[in-house]
C-alpha cells in the first residue's frame, strides 16, 4: 500500500502546513509539566497522524496511541488514560500520549466522553496530543484548555510535486501524461493519503478518478429510481444521485433545495398523486415522513451516521407501491398553475403579516388566522379604503395594495353575504 510505504520518516519529508508543523515542534520542545495539551484540527490525510509518529521518533518519546473512535464512553477512556497520566515513571521511558480521531467520542452529556477528556487534560503530567477532523460544538471546552493548531488541505501545487517524486521512485515504465496527473491531484482534494491511493490504483490499471463523476443529476436519479425493476437498483439510483438529505430548517438556497433528495422524492410523487389511490398515497407519505424524522434528528444532533440508512428505508419502503407506475421527476409538488399564484400571493403577504403581527402584539400565524379575515370583512363593511388605512398606519406602501387585492377576492367569493 503506497499510502503506508510513503509515510514520511522525517519532518523534512512532509509537505504542506509548514507553519502548523513548526508550531507543533515548538510546542513539544518547550513542553514542561503543566503545559497545555495540543489539539490538531484538520481534514483527513494531511499528515496529522504521520507528524505525531515522526515527532515521537525524532524526539525520542514512546508513543502511546489511542484511537479514540473505539473508546466512546467515559469509564473506558478514564481506565485507559488515567494510569499513564499518574504513573509516568513506571516504564522508565518518556511517554507521549496521542488521542487520534476524537471526533468519534460522544459529546453527549450522559456518556460524558469529551467532558471526561477535558477534565483529564487540565494538568497533564506527560505531553498529550489530540487530533480531530472538524471543529465541533462538543469540543468547545476542550479547545479552551488546549493549544489548538489547525491543519489545512494540502494545496495542488505541493501535491503535484509530491506526486512527481513518488513517480520517480516507483521507476515505472508506464508514463502518466500531464492531464492524468492533474486529474489525480484534483481528485485527491488536498488529501495526501487519497492522492497516493488514487495514483497506486491508476498504475494498477484501475482508474478511480473517472468514478468521481459518476454522480448523476437528481432528475435522472429520481426517474431511474421510479423505473427500476428491483429495490436494489432503485436504491443504487438514489445513492448515486448528485443530491443529499438536508434539513431545510437551517435555510437553503434554491440550488440546495433542488439537491434535497427527500424533497425531490416528495414533489415527484405528489405531482403524480391524482393517479394514486389513498392507500398507496398514505403508505408512500408515511415512508417519506419516517425518513424525514431521521433527517431531522441528524440536523438536530449532528448524527451523520444515521444518514446511511435513509436510502435503504426509502428504496425498500417505496418500491412495492411506486414501481411501474410511471412516476417521473418533478420539482414541484403541484401543477404550476395551481402553485404559482399561491406562492406569489404568499410573497406579497409576507411583509404585511409581520407588520400587522407587531401592531396586534401577536404572531404572524395568529394574525393570519384570527385577525386578518375579520379585518378584511370589517374594512368591507365600513367601506374603509385599504390604501388609506395602510398609509395612516405607516405600513409599507405595498401593503395597501395587498389588502385591496384580498378584499377583491373576498368580494368575488361572497362567502359571508350569501
Amino acid at each position: 500500500m503506497w499510502s503506508e510505504f510513503y509515510r514520511p520518516r522525517k519532518i523534512e519529508q512532509m509537505i504542506g502546513n509548514e507553519d502548523g508543523r513548526l508550531n507543533v515542534v515548538k510546542w513539544l520542545s518547550g513542553w514542561v509539566v503543566g503545559s497545555r495539551p495540543l489539539f490538531l484540527i484538520g481534514p483527513p490525510g494531511v499528515g496529522k497522524t504521520s507528524l505525531v509518529h515522526v515527532l515521537a521518533r525524532q524526539f525520542d518519546y514512546d508513543l502511546v496511541e489511542l484511537n479514540a473512535s473505539d473508546t466512546r464512553n467515559r469509564e473506558e477512556l478514564e481506565r485507559m488514560i488515567l494510569p499513564m497520566l499518574t504513573n509516568t515513571s513506571i516504564l522508565g521511558k518518556r511517554l507521549l500520549l496521542f488521542l487520534d480521531e476524537i471526533d468519534g467520542i460522544s459529546g453527549r452529556e450522559d456518556t460524558g466522553g469529551i467532558e471526561s477528556i477535558v477534565n483529564l487534560m487540565k494538568e497533564p503530567t506527560i505531553p498529550v496530543i489530540m487530533a480531530a477532523n472538524k471543529r465541533d460544538a462538543k469540543f468547545k471546552e476542550l479547545t479552551k484548555v488546549s493549544k489548538v493548531i489547525e491543519f489545512d488541505p494540502v494545496p495542488p501545487r505541493l501535491l503535484m510535486l509530491f506526486l512527481e517524486q513518488v513517480i520517480k521512485k516507483e521507476k515505472k515504465i508506464k508514463k502518466l501524461d500531464p492531464e492524468e496527473k492533474i486529474s489525480i491531484v484534483n481528485n485527491s482534494h488536498g488529501d495526501i493519503r487519497s492522492l497516493l491511493n488514487i495514483a497506486q490504483s491508476k498504475y494498477a490499471g484501475y482508474d478511480v478518478t473517472t468514478q468521481d463523476n459518476f454522480e448523476i443529476d437528481i432528475a435522472d436519479a429520481i426517474n431511474g429510481f421510479f423505473s427500476s425493476d428491483a429495490p436494489q437498483k432503485a436504491r443504487d439510483f438514489l445513492s448515486s444521485a448528485d443530491a443529499s438529505y438536508q434539513d431545510p430548517r437551517f435555510g437553503m438556497s434554491p440550488e440546495e433545495r433542488r439537491k434535497d433528495k427527500l424533497n425531490a422524492l416528495y414533489s415527484s410523487t405528489m405531482s403524480y398523486s391524482s393517479r394514486l389511490d389513498i392507500a398507496s398515497l398514505s403508505s408512500i407519505l408515511d415512508i417519506l415522513s419516517k425518513a424525514d424524522i431521521i433527517v431531522g434528528r441528524v440536523g438536530e444532533n449532528r448524527q451523520w451516521s444515521l444518514l446511511k440508512y435513509i436510502d435503504n428505508i426509502i428504496a425498500y419502503g417505496l418500491f412495492p407501491t411506486t414501481h411501474n407506475k410511471g412516476i417521473k421527476y418533478n420539482q414541484y409538488s403541484m401543477s404550476w398553475p395551481v402553485m404559482g399564484p399561491i406562492f406569489s400571493r404568499g410573497r406579497s403577504m409576507k411583509g404585511l403579516l409581520s407588520e400587522m403581527a407587531d401592531i396586534t402584539h401577536t404572531s404572524k400565524s395568529v394574525f393570519g388566522a384570527e385577525y386578518f379575515p375579520y379585518l378584511i370583512q370589517i374594512m368591507i363593511d365600513s367601506k374603509m379604503d385599504p390604501r388609506e388605512f395602510a398609509e395612516l398606519s405607516n405600513l409599507d406602501e405595498k401593503s395597501g395594495e395587498v389588502i385591496a387585492k384580498e378584499i377583491d377576492r373576498i368580494k368575488k367569493k361572497g362567502t359571508r353575504h350569501r
Binding site: L285, S289, V295, G296, Y374, L375
Partner: protein
C-alpha cells in the same frame, strides 16, 4: 417594534377594547390583584410566567404591566418577541441576549425602575435548545431585565425556567364575563344584539375573548348581532378553514386538502403547530366515530412535526392518513 396604532384601534374592536390598565382586565381577578401587589415594590419584582388558553388576556396583561412599570417610555424599553415566528436558538442569542445586555438609559429613569422588560410570547413554541440558552440569559441579566414569559402549556416550558419565574395560571373566561363584555361593547357602539346570539358566540369560542369580539363585530357589520349573522361570521376564522381541510382530507379529497393547506400556510402564514392545534379542536367538534384513532394520529404527527425536518411532508402525510381512516369508515 410595535406601535400603538390609532387607525386599527378605531377600526377593530378587539384593539379598541383592549385593556390599557390592569384593572380593566376582566375575569382574572386573583391574577390582577396578585400582580398589583407585586408591582407595588417595583424593585423586587420577579420574572413572570403566564400560562393559559388563547384570548384570555395574557399578552394584554403583560403589556399593561410594562406600561405601569415603565411609564411613557414603555415601548422603547420593552422588547416583544413571539416564539411562534422565530423559535430557534438564534432568536435567543441575537435578539434576547442583545436587548438584555443593554442597561436602561439614565435619562429614562424618571419613573421608578431601572430595568427593561422582555415579553416572550408563545414561549412553548421554542425549541428546548433555545429554552436552555434562555435560562442562562435570564440568570445573567437580572440586573438589567425582567422577563414576562407567556405560554399556552406550562408543561412545555423547561423546569429551570419555570423555577426562575412566578407562575400565573390564566383561566378560561367565564360565560357571564364574556357576555357582559360583549354587551358593554354593543352598548358603546350602539349595536343591536340578540341574547341568544351572544350565547352562540360563547359556545363557538369557548371563552376566547379575542375571537368573540371579532365575531361580534363581523356580525354587527351585517346589520345586527343575530344568530344567523353570528354563524356566518364564525366561518371567517382560520380555525374554520382548517376544519374544511380536515373534512376534505377525510372525504378522500387529498389534493383539494393539500392545495387549501398550502394556501393557509403560505399566504396566511399559519404555522404548522397552529394548524395542528386548530385541527385538533375541529376534529373534536366534528364528533366523529374514530375519535380515539384520530387523536392517536394527531399525537403521532405532532411528534413527527417537532422532530422532522420537512413540515410540508409531515402535514401531507397526515392528510393522507386522515383519508385512509375516512375510507375505512365507509
Amino acid at each position: 417594534m410595535s406601535t400603538t396604532n390609532k387607525i386599527l384601534s378605531n377600526l377593530m374592536w378587539v384593539e379598541k377594547y383592549r385593556p390599557i390598565k390592569l384593572e380593566q382586565v376582566i375575569n382574572q381577578k386573583e391574577i390582577v390583584n396578585g400582580l398589583k401587589n407585586l408591582i407595588k415594590n417595583p424593585y423586587e419584582i420577579p420574572h413572570l410566567l403566564f400560562a393559559g388558553p388563547a384570548g384570555v388576556g395574557k399578552t394584554t396583561t403583560a403589556l399593561c404591566i410594562a406600561r405601569e412599570l415603565l411609564g411613557e417610555d414603555w415601548q422603547r424599553n420593552t422588547l416583544e418577541l413571539n416564539a411562534s415566528d422565530e423559535r430557534g436558538i438564534k432568536m435567543v442569542r441575537e435578539r434576547v441576549k442583545e436587548f438584555a445586555s443593554v442597561m436602561k438609559l439614565a435619562t429614562d429613569t424618571n419613573d421608578n425602575v431601572s430595568f427593561r422588560i422582555i415579553i416572550l410570547d408563545e414561549a412553548d413554541e421554542m425549541t428546548s435548545e433555545a429554552q436552555t440558552a434562555l435560562r442562562r440569559i435570564i440568570e445573567d441579566s437580572s440586573k438589567t431585565t425582567r422577563f414576562i414569559i407567556i405560554c399556552n402549556y406550562l408543561s412545555q416550558i423547561i423546569e429551570p425556567i419555570q423555577s426562575r419565574c412566578v407562575v400565573f395560571r390564566f383561566m378560561r373566561l367565564a360565560k357571564e364575563d364574556v357576555i357582559g363584555y360583549l354587551k358593554m361593547i354593543c352598548e358603546k357602539e350602539g349595536v343591536k344584539y340578540e341574547e341568544k346570539a351572544l350565547s352562540q358566540i360563547y359556545a363557538a369560542t369557548s371563552g376566547d375573548l379575542r375571537h368573540s369580539i371579532n365575531i361580534l363585530q363581523a356580525s354587527a357589520g351585517m346589520g345586527s348581532v343575530s344568530i344567523a349573522n353570528v354563524i356566518a361570521s364564525i366561518g371567517l376564522s382560520g380555525k374554520t378553514k382548517v376544519g374544511e381541510i380536515i373534512r376534505s382530507a377525510i372525504a378522500g379529497k387529498f389534493n383539494d386538502a393539500r392545495i387549501k393547506l398550502l394556501e393557509l400556510t403560505n399566504v396566511y402564514g399559519m404555522s404548522e403547530t397552529d394548524f395542528l392545534k386548530y385541527a385538533n379542536q375541529e376534529l373534536y367538534d366534528m364528533k366523529l366515530e374514530h375519535l380515539d384513532e384520530l387523536a392517536a394520529l394527531m399525537a403521532e404527527f405532532d411528534y413527527r412535526l417537532a422532530v422532522g425536518a420537512h413540515p410540508e411532508i409531515q402535514l401531507s402525510a397526515l392528510l393522507a392518513q386522515l383519508g385512509k381512516l375516512g375510507s375505512k369508515g365507509k
